[in-house]
């Protein structure tokens, strides 16, 4: 190989323009394949069981709670007039928000040629899918009679009824189901070459069969790659508007209503930023332990963590701006109800929700300005959990605090969740982590074929190009 290619002399990149390589320690292609496959091929580690068994128990709890709720009725929740939306919607929005990092990383960063995305996109997409599944549970069960969920879709029924197309709740159905479908497709298309790699490495007949089945007969021929790249690009193009539309539409559930605190035009962009913020928070929470448990430090490098912290910081600043702006708008509007709502948000009986939201979402991310902090993984991990907590409280503040003191003071009531609310929420963690643990144990957690494309030696101008590269 190396005799054939005569290298034209390329001026060396000046040192200060050099970027840290995306795969550390000059790892070879073969090493990457081995390392990532080892997670799925090796023996099940003890820590995996230690995480999986509790997750499974929580999943069981979720099943029990859903059964109880469906058999008894929505009355088992704390939702009570005037707070007719409680933890169900809070958790729905929270989970769906978390589901935003995946497509942002895979679609928008792909189109923007942000190469660092390759190390984290697979896991982030999986996270997205599982988070959307957790989110999807809530709207499906909060209607009460779940066996009529199909009425959400515009199907000609014998009632002669169509869903209300002017309602944002209807748009939500389409937004979330489209988002879920496209995310799954995107994730799956990306998986195909890596599934084929696992098939070719598989030792047992069963694994060969299963990976063979799901890799759709991928051979890695030129034609396959060219189709693959096209499909991937098209899906990236499709998902890009979805990243923005889904949470915009979720925000319309609130802002199309006439309620003070909900009825604001700032909601769509502010919700999208908040979603990306919380999504990156969750990616950090998941990947920081995973990279060391699975020994992927050379693939998910500190540089990756650093970049993700910066995204979190940027989106955190956008939401902080929105939080402050909401108060200014309330003051400027001159509307007594609007002003009352915001005073009540900060100083009313549920002031603690607002304080949690402001401190976790506005103050905590400011620490990411410091490189020292961004490099300290333990600190980053703890801060990322604060981001998750803060974003939960943001939704709590919007949903519950927006409702519990309505226009009629005689109907004001304090909102308290019931134990069923709490256990259902815990249960969704069970679903999320069960699926995520299964995913990371049985499927390639890192996009192997793509990662190879961003190694230094994959660059045709690299002095060692082709020399150390193995076959993909």
């Amino acid at each position: 190989m190396s005799e054939v290619a005569t290298h034209t002399k390329v001026p060396a990149t000046p040192l200060e323009l050099m970027r840290e390589p995306l795969v550390a320690n000059q790892r070879s292609f073969g090493w990457i394949s081995d390392r990532v496959s080892a997670v799925t091929e090796g023996k099940t580690p003890k820590w995996w069981w230690a995480a999986f068994v509790p997750s499974l128990c929580l999943l069981g709890l979720l099943g029990a709670m859903l059964y109880y709720q469906i058999a008894t009725g929505v009355g088992v929740w704390g939702n009570q007039h005037p707070t007719m939306w409680g933890w169900d919607i809070v958790n729905f929005v929270w989970w769906i928000g978390i589901g935003h990092a995946g497509t942002l990383i895979s679609a928008i960063l792909y189109l923007l040629r942000q190469k660092w995305r390759t190390a984290v996109n697979r896991a982030a997409e999986a996270m997205t899918i599982f988070a959307v599944m957790c989110a999807g549970i809530y709207p499906a069960i909060h209607v009460g009679r779940v066996w009529f969920d199909w009425w959400l879709f515009p199907i000609p029924t014998y009632q002669g009824l169509w869903p209300q197309f002017r309602s944002p709740l209807m748009w939500d159905v389409f937004a979330v189901s489209t988002y879920f479908t496209v995310s799954v497709l995107f994730w799956y298309v990306g998986l195909i070459p890596d599934l084929a790699m696992l098939r070719d490495r598989a030792k047992t007949k069963l694994k060969q069969f299963l990976f063979g089945l799901f890799s759709f007969g991928w051979t890695g021929s030129n034609r396959h790659w060219s189709n693959y790249e096209k499909a991937y690009l098209i899906l990236a193009g499709l998902s890009t508007p979805l990243v923005l539309s889904v949470h915009s539409i979720v925000s319309l559930d609130f802002s199309v209503s006439q309620l003070p605190g909900w009825h604001t035009t700032i909601f769509p962009p502010y919700f999208v930023a908040g979603a990306v913020f919380s999504g990156f928070g969750m990616v950090l929470t998941l990947l920081i332990p995973l990279r060391s448990m699975c020994h992927l430090e050379d693939i998910i490098t500190k540089r990756h963590i650093d970049v993700m912290c910066k995204v979190t910081l940027a989106t955190g600043c956008i939401v902080s701006y929105a939080y402050i702006m909401e108060f200014i708008i309330a003051w400027y509007s001159g509307s007594a109800m609007e002003r009352f709502h915001f005073m009540n948000r900060a100083l009313g009986p549920m002031w603690w929700g607002w304080v949690m939201m402001m401190s976790c979402n506005m103050l905590v991310p400011q620490l990411f300005w410091f490189k020292k902090i961004r490099q300290n993984l333990v600190v980053v991990w703890i801060l990322s959990i604060f981001v998750n907590i803060g974003m939960w409280f943001e939704r709590f503040v919007i949903v519950v605090v927006g409702l519990y003191r309505d226009f009629l003071p005689s109907s004001w009531d304090y909102y308290k969740p019931t134990w069923v609310d709490v256990c259902t929420y815990l249960g969704t963690f069970g679903l999320f982590f069960t699926l995520f643990l299964l995913f990371m144990r049985f499927l390639p957690m890192i996009a192997v074929s793509e990662i190879k494309g961003v190694t230094p030696q994959a660059d045709p101008h690299h002095p060692e190009a082709g020399a150390t590269g193995g076959h993909s």
């Binding site: 014998y158 002669g160 098939r199 063979g212």
Partner: protein, 222 residues
């Protein structure tokens, strides 16, 4: 490496697509046909404790429905006659017939005959007979040709879209107020002529009876 899959599996995607489309089509068609009140309600014909025949009484004898269902014009509810109503005739006609034993017993003791209810709207639907009957809507629109039934069965679906089909277009269904219980009545023997006349007086009756198209949800779901 030896092939994992035999060669015919190359056709698998095509087979899955065709099979999937066919199955989806069959499921859709099945649901469409079987899962509607048109299918699971129409034709419901429970066995009644007394073999009372509308064909005999309302058909052959030509009795008016309101002789027995006397509240249908005055109330939301259409009553089932008490056995004393039957005894008006049956203390002479078929006096000792065993088929009427239960009727006689009921009339003597005052214990009602346990008729099995056939038509029923769910609790969340408000229905009113008098509104319809006094506005030129015949029994036949909702109960079919009861006067020809040996035993009453559920003839119409009574689903929401069934109600709405008429509420959207009452002019095609209204008839003169004195023909409400004349179930076989048509504006004319000739179908073309009938349609023409219906169109002409339909509009007039809608106006005269002051029928508004009641399509707001709270008309029926109060």
């Amino acid at each position: 490496m030896s092939a994992i899959f035999p060669k015919w599996t190359n056709k698998l995607p095509l087979m899955i697509i065709i099979g999937g489309t066919l199955t989806a089509g069959a499921v859709t068609a099945g649901v469409w046909y079987y899962f509607t009140p048109k299918y699971f309600r129409v034709g419901y014909q429970p066995i009644q404790p007394v073999a009372f025949s509308h064909a005999t009484h309302a058909g052959q004898l030509g009795m008016d429905c309101r002789y027995c269902h006397s509240t249908v014009e005055k109330s939301w509810f259409s009553n089932i006659p008490s056995s004393s109503t039957c005894m008006n005739c049956h203390n002479q006609v078929l006096k000792d017939d065993p088929r009427l034993a239960l009727v006689r017993e009921s009339a003597a003791t005052g214990k009602p005959i346990p008729w099995v209810q056939i038509h029923r709207v769910p609790d969340f639907v408000y229905f009113n007979h008098s509104v319809h009957v006094n506005r030129g809507i015949s029994c036949v629109e909702c109960h079919g040709r009861v006067d020809q039934m040996e035993e009453v069965y559920h003839a119409k679906s009574l689903s929401m879209s069934f109600c709405l089909d008429c509420h959207n277009d009452p002019a095609s269904k209204v008839r003169p107020a004195d023909k409400i219980t004349d179930l076989g009545w048509t504006p004319s023997e000739d179908p073309n002529e009938a349609a023409k006349r219906q169109e002409a007086f339909g509009k007039k009756y809608v106006h005269d009876f002051r029928i508004e198209s009641m399509n707001n949800c709270s008309a029926c779901h109060r």
